[in-house]
Every structure is written in structure tokens, then in C-alpha cells.
């Protein structure tokens, strides 16, 4: 018995020696999510509360903000990719959604970080995810199915006598009946240096949805936007600059 144990110990030590030899030390990488309006943090307490002014000058309040991110990827200069093949439904009203349960271990070094806003075509399968179904996150089959990428609801012209609702929802774009165009975005989040365990904070600047390249006029495009092809594509274009990263 003792012998077997010693032998096992020997093998274990040998194995660990071996891996020490040919790799630099590795780091644990976690992901968290946050929201801001041009740099000012937006949290659950701002819901229905804080008034924001968008690029086009409309004063608005946020009632609900949920969005889907997936396939977080770290690519190193030598071409090796580490994919965290998971998805996260982030809900401004629910702090528990601001941290991913999944994590990856990578060798220390410099990486380009990327992710998918929404689901790519392979993942965006009608009804495929029980937790997202339970959250009623589905995108209607008549509009191409799969899931919402973004649900951003609120009121605008809030300081006028007649505040009006907007439903800024994004997902697959319907070109015409039965013809659909995928609308996810592969977001390049820039480069980071990992030298030890770290948390990558993926930030959403909510103001950017209304800004770049398309200045959004809520008075013209408030609701319904889901079946509106042009609106869906404009959101897609604006999504590129919405996300950025920081490290803590």
C-alpha cells in the first residue's frame, strides 16, 4: 500500500515538474459586466429614476436593460485562441448577472479580447436554451427566431407634458417575409496584458447606442422597431462602439 502511494506521489510530482518546465505561469481570467452613460456608472438604482440626454437631445429614463453576450475569446500574438464558449444574459436590475460564472486559465501574456454581441448563427437557435426561454428572451420566429440580443425599454421626452415609450430591441433582422439577415456583432475589445489572475470588465456605454455612426432620433424611431429592418441594421452598426474593456 505504502509503495503504491509513494509511486503515485512520484508520478504526480514528476507530472507537475514537467508542466512547470515548458510553460510560463498561468493566470485565472474572469469576466464581469458594467454599464455607464458616457463614463458615469449606471446601476439598478438609476432605473426609472435618472434622466439621461442622448446625442440627439432627447431626455430619457431607462425602465429595463437586458442584453446578451457570448463567446468570450482571448487571442494571443502567437495565434493561439482561448474561447470561453458561454453566454451571459445581463440584466441591469439584477446584480447577480454582472459576473460570469465561467472562467478560463491562460498563460500570462498579451491578448486581444473579443466577444459576440448576441448569438452568432450557430448559437442563435430557436428555443435552444432553457434558461433564456424561462427569461422569455426569445425573438419571435416570424422575425427569424432565436433570441433577443438587446431589450432596452424606457420613456423619452420625460420632461415634456407627454413622455413617450421607446422599445429599443435588437435581434435578427427581417428583410422581408421569410427572409432574414443575421445581426450579431463580433466585437473586438482591444488588447490587454495579463500578468496574474485578473477580471476583465466588459463595459457598455449605453449612450453609444444613440450615437455612432447613426445619431438616433427617438421621435422618429421609438417603437415598434423589431420588425423594422433599417432600425435593426442601424442598431447593429451602433453596437460596434458600445462595448469596451477595463481590467481589475
Amino acid at each position: 500500500m505504502k509503495k503504491v502511494f509513494l509511486l503515485l506521489l512520484f508520478v504526480a510530482v514528476l507530472a507537475s515538474c514537467k508542466s512547470d518546465d515548458d510553460s510560463t505561469s498561468s493566470a485565472l481570467v474572469q469576466f464581469q459586466f458594467s454599464q455607464n452613460w458616457d463614463g458615469t456608472a449606471v446601476t439598478a438604482s438609476d432605473i426609472d429614476n435618472t434622466v439621461y440626454t442622448n446625442e440627439n437631445g432627447e431626455e430619457l429614463k431607462i425602465a429595463r436593460l437586458r442584453y446578451l453576450l457570448s463567446r468570450f475569446q482571448l487571442s494571443s500574438a502567437d495565434g493561439s485562441n482561448t474561447l470561453l464558449n458561454t453566454y451571459q444574459l445581463i440584466d441591469l436590475s439584477d446584480a447577480s448577472t454582472m459576473q460570469s460564472d465561467s472562467q478560463v486559465t491562460v498563460p500570462e501574456g498579451t491578448y486581444t479580447v473579443s466577444m459576440i454581441y448576441g448569438f452568432n448563427d450557430e448559437d442563435n437557435v430557436d428555443g435552444a436554451y432553457a434558461d433564456l426561454n424561462a427569461a422569455s428572451w426569445n425573438w419571435p420566429t416570424m422575425l427569424g427566431g432565436g433570441y433577443h440580443f438587446l431589450q432596452f425599454d424606457g420613456m423619452y421626452n420625460v420632461n415634456s407634458s407627454e413622455p413617450k415609450p421607446f422599445n429599443f430591441h435588437n435581434g435578427t433582422a427581417r428583410v422581408s417575409e421569410g427572409v432574414f439577415e443575421s445581426n450579431f456583432v463580433e466585437v473586438d475589445l482591444g488588447t490587454i496584458t495579463i500578468d496574474g489572475d485578473t477580471t476583465i470588465n466588459i463595459q457598455m456605454n449605453i449612450a453609444e447606442w444613440f450615437k455612432n455612426p447613426n445619431t438616433w432620433n427617438l421621435n422618429e424611431l421609438d417603437t415598434p422597431l423589431m420588425p423594422n429592418y433599417e432600425a435593426q441594421i442601424m442598431m447593429h452598426e451602433n453596437a460596434q462602439s458600445v462595448f469596451s474593456i477595463s481590467q481589475n
Binding site: I47, D48, N49, A63, R64, D126, G127, A130, D131, N133, A134, A135, S136, N138, P140, T141, M142, Q151, D153, G154, M155, E162, K164, P165, F166, N167, H169, D222, T223, P224, L225, M226, P227
Partner: protein, 355 residues
């Protein structure tokens, strides 16, 4: 989901075998028999139900809970059972506008139907005042406008009853009765009340064809240009047909009942109520938290032309400036036909849920 049921079944057998020697509740190590929750196939589409680890479903617990649910013993004058305001024929709500307690007094709200509660991961009641089903059970018994009973008294009556002491001991392995066990047993029973066998479910499973009108109604329900009901009331991949979240759906300009605001104290929650499921509407009239609408036609008219603005209105009530989504008479009929296809006669007739 099949796997889930299977593993529960295997576990049941294992436990059964391991318990067969010490099935006397008074012996240490006694375990009641785990209850197998049979899930309709449509429930594959969402997460499994959330059963609290400190109150697993057991055969004995569910049987006890059922007996308690139908027994007026829990009310002050032994005249009103839970089932008095939660009637099987009404999908376990009642047909009164506002529920009436044992002293003949009206409460402030319409009773709620009871089904698929095991999947509600949000809080209970119209305003979310109870955060678990166990806590919820404690409320109506003591509520003066409902069962108006003193818990000590209820426990004393149960302890003196010819059958209850043994049933409690079999369900919980203890010799004394307390109110938490009453709550646990009834909560267990209510978690077994699953409804998932409507015409629409069968349509989704490919077992029948819907009528033209039902299908049109479904399209209206899902169409952001027309009904746009699905953002709050679910879709074919969510068999609950509710998001269980709080919304103000444009019923009032000012609020007699602050709804969610009563619980949070936040003025921006005034007039918000938890979205009800759209299953079993054929049996659950009148509608809304205060039972203001007698018919589904009135409900549909509300969404079509009757919306009123207030500060907390949900932005999903997009057409509030025009009073609503402006459906034609034919669209209203179609929408109603679809809504009714979500009703499940096999649920209200299920002998497992009858006295």
C-alpha cells in the same frame, strides 16, 4: 427532462429500498417516500422547477398538503378552506371580484389561480409580498379578511384531530405539529399542481392543428406591430406564459392599490403588479388584480383602446398615446381564440387535485 424524472424515479426506488427496514416514523432514520413530479413534455423547454432543498416533495407531504388545502380546519370558524377561494373548477382561483373571508369582509384583491408555481423564481402574490411558497401559506390563515385564524389555535385543533397527528408524523418524522410543517405540506401539494396540456401545448407538440382564427390570434400576440403581448406574457418556448415580473399595464391614472409599491415603498413601483399567466383564462374570470374585467373581451378592449397613462406605465404599453394597439373586431376575436387555446381542461379535472 426525461432524465430528470428517471433519476428521481431511481432515487425513489433506492430510498424506498433503503427505508423499507425503518419505515416507522418514530424510529431514527425514517424517511418519507420521495414524490415523483411528472412533468408534461412541454416543460422540457425551461429550467426544471425550483424545489427548496429543505422541503423536498414526498408522497406523505403532498397527501397531507392536499388534505389541509381542502380542509376548513385552518380557518377561525372552520368554514373556509384554501380551496374556498382557490376552487379546482376555476383553475384554483375563485369567481368573486374580490375574495371574501370568513367574516364576510372583502379583501382588496382578486384571488389568484394556482398552477406551475414551482417554476416561479420570483416572489408570490400580485405584488410579490411573499418570497417563498412556504411563507405565502402562513399569510391567508392569519389574515383577518381571509381565514382569520390564530396559528396556535389551528395547531391545537390539528393536534387533537383523529388523523392529522399521524399524517404529520409520516410526512415530517416528528411527533409534534407546528405551523411551518403545515406551510411545508401545503407548499408541497401546490408544487405538484402542474398545468401543461392545453390545445396550444398539443399544437406545439405536433398533436393537433389549431383553427385559422387561433393561429391568427397567436400571430397578433407575437407581433410587435399589433398585440405585442409576448414580452410580458411569454412565448411558445416559455410554457409558463408569464414573465412573473412587475408591470403597470395602463389600467389607472392614480392607484387605490399601490401594488408592488406597497412592498418596496418606491413610488416608481406604484401600480405595478406581477404579470399573471395566460393559461386557463377560460376558468379564471374575473381578471386583473382587482377583478375589474368580467370577460376576456373587456381585457382585450383594454389593451386595444383602454390604456391610460401614469408615471409608472411600462414602456411596453407602447401605444398608450393612442389608448392602445387598436385591434380590429376580427383581430380581437382571433386573439381571444388564441388565448383560450391555452386553457387546459385536464388540469381542472385532474383527480389528483380534487378533494
Amino acid at each position: 427532462m426525461k432524465k430528470y424524472v428517471l433519476s428521481i424515479a431511481v432515487l425513489t426506488v433506492l430510498l424506498f429500498v433503503s427505508c423499507s427496514d425503518d419505515s416507522n416514523p418514530d424510529e431514527p432514520g425514517y424517511e418519507p417516500i420521495p414524490y415523483t413530479l411528472e412533468l408534461p413534455p412541454i416543460f422540457d423547454r425551461i429550467n426544471p422547477p425550483s424545489i427548496p432543498s429543505d422541503n423536498p416533495l414526498t408522497e406523505e407531504g403532498v397527501a397531507l398538503g392536499k388534505k389541509l388545502f381542502f380542509d376548513p380546519i385552518l380557518s377561525g370558524d372552520n368554514t373556509l378552506a384554501c380551496a374556498g377561494c382557490h376552487k379546482p373548477a376555476n383553475a384554483f382561483t375563485d369567481d368573486a371580484t374580490l375574495s371574501i373571508g370568513i367574516d364576510g369582509e372583502e379583501g382588496i384583491r382578486n384571488s389568484m389561480p394556482l398552477f406551475n408555481l414551482a417554476w416561479n423564481t420570483n416572489d408570490f402574490f400580485w405584488d410579490g409580498a411573499a418570497n417563498t411558497l412556504e411563507k405565502q401559506v402562513l399569510e391567508p390563515v392569519a389574515n383577518p379578511v381571509e381565514m382569520h385564524e390564530d396559528w396556535e389555535n389551528a395547531v391545537a385543533e390539528l393536534s387533537a384531530h383523529p388523523q392529522y397527528p399521524e399524517m404529520f408524523s409520516k410526512a415530517f418524522g416528528t411527533s409534534s405539529i407546528d405551523r411551518d410543517q403545515v406551510a411545508k405540506a401545503i407548499a408541497q401539494f401546490m408544487r405538484t399542481m402542474v398545468s401543461g396540456n392545453s390545445r396550444f401545448d398539443k399544437y406545439l407538440l405536433g398533436e393537433l392543428e389549431l383553427t385559422e382564427s387561433e393561429l391568427n390570434g397567436f400571430d397578433i400576440f407575437m407581433d410587435e406591430d399589433r398585440g405585442d403581448c409576448f414580452h410580458c406574457h411569454g412565448n411558445p418556448f416559455n410554457p409558463l406564459w408569464t414573465d412573473n415580473q412587475y408591470h403597470n399595464n395602463g389600467l389607472d391614472e392614480t392607484f387605490d392599490d399601490r401594488g408592488r409599491g406597497l412592498v418596496t415603498g418606491d413610488p416608481m413601483d406604484f401600480g405595478k403588479f406581477r404579470s399573471p399567466s395566460l393559461r386557463n383564462l377560460a376558468y379564471t374570470a374575473p381578471y386583473m388584480h382587482d377583478g375589474r374585467f368580467e370577460t376576456l373581451d373587456e381585457v382585450i378592449d383594454h389593451y386595444s383602446e383602454g390604456l391610460v397613462y401614469s408615471e409608472t406605465i411600462d414602456p411596453l404599453m407602447k401605444a398608450v398615446a393612442e389608448g392602445g394597439v387598436q385591434l380590429t373586431t376580427e383581430q380581437k376575436e382571433d386573439l381571444k381564440a388564441f388565448l383560450l387555446s391555452l386553457s387546459d381542461p385536464s388540469f381542472i379535472n385532474n383527480p389528483d387535485f380534487q378533494n
